[in-house]
Symmetry: C2
Subunit: 147 residues, 2 copies
Amino acid sequence: MNIGKAAAASGVSAKMIRYYESIGLIPAARRTDAGYRAYTEEDVHVLRFIRRARDLGFSVEGITGLLALWHDKGRASADVKRIALEHVATLERKIRELQGMVDTLKALASHCHGDHRPDCPILADLDGPTGPGPQRTGPRQRGIGPV
Amino acid sequence: MNIGKAAAASGVSAKMIRYYESIGLIPAARRTDAGYRAYTEEDVHVLRFIRRARDLGFSVEGITGLLALWHDKGRASADVKRIALEHVATLERKIRELQGMVDTLKALASHCHGDHRPDCPILADLDGPTGPGPQRTGPRQRGIGPV
DNA sequence: GTTGACCTTCCCATCCTGTCAAGGTTTACA
DNA sequence: TGTAAACCTTGACAGGATGGGAAGGTCAAC
């Protein structure tokens, strides 16, 4: 099976399959005489596994660990569960960060007339919180980047 | 004021100040004879504004819009409010995606013994959901990337 | 005058994904 | 058989926001 077929069958783009191969997440595929990568159903199976894990927000590094356990038929389920729950904790931390932003923005917006007048507590707060107004959630922390 | 001072006073790293200048988010700073960038209190004020907006998860693009409104003393507060609420919607969409992952993972983990035995419904699901088991949240969608 | 802290520019890396280009291969069809 | 379309290959570049480091110039304190 060529890479295009494998991509369609697994839901992982051809580009990403090559990328995963280049970083060693998956072994280098067998090549045809013409140099085309050739995939088996089993390879597609692995790619689907990777795709599902990505959908659950696992990083490539996390997937590396999951794949190792997946291939290790004698693994302890505790190891898998630990990785999953650690990931849950990471996701929940991120959710709390985002929720803090949402809360702050909503509080600011609720005090904004939202009409033609220029006065706006949202800008006033960004300007430098001097008055009472809605408080920021928790201690100053690095942003989590653009969303 | 040198860039280091401005960075410390605003909470934006020197590295990022130069970057913001390079992409045009802030105007190029005046230079001393030696070529050092020189900042005023007003510049620091702007940088603090940017820093606060970043903490609220605004992208550089979003901040560009906010800065324009901030500088426009005749702006309508409705414009600011709209940007803020659009951003809230974006954040909430992201939160829902992450929460869906958390729900799925928790459901899978709750069915995992988490002991020395190799059987693990988490891997079984990633393997290819064949049985009933916890359902994925909503239609198949692109992952949101590593977290 | 020396030393250390600061500044400059430029390059590289991250992380995952997409796009484009230039060229070779396979397949389908007239 | 010829040709066109669809596929494959590698490589490069992009993005978004940030950090790190190297090589070299400048300033301030002692």
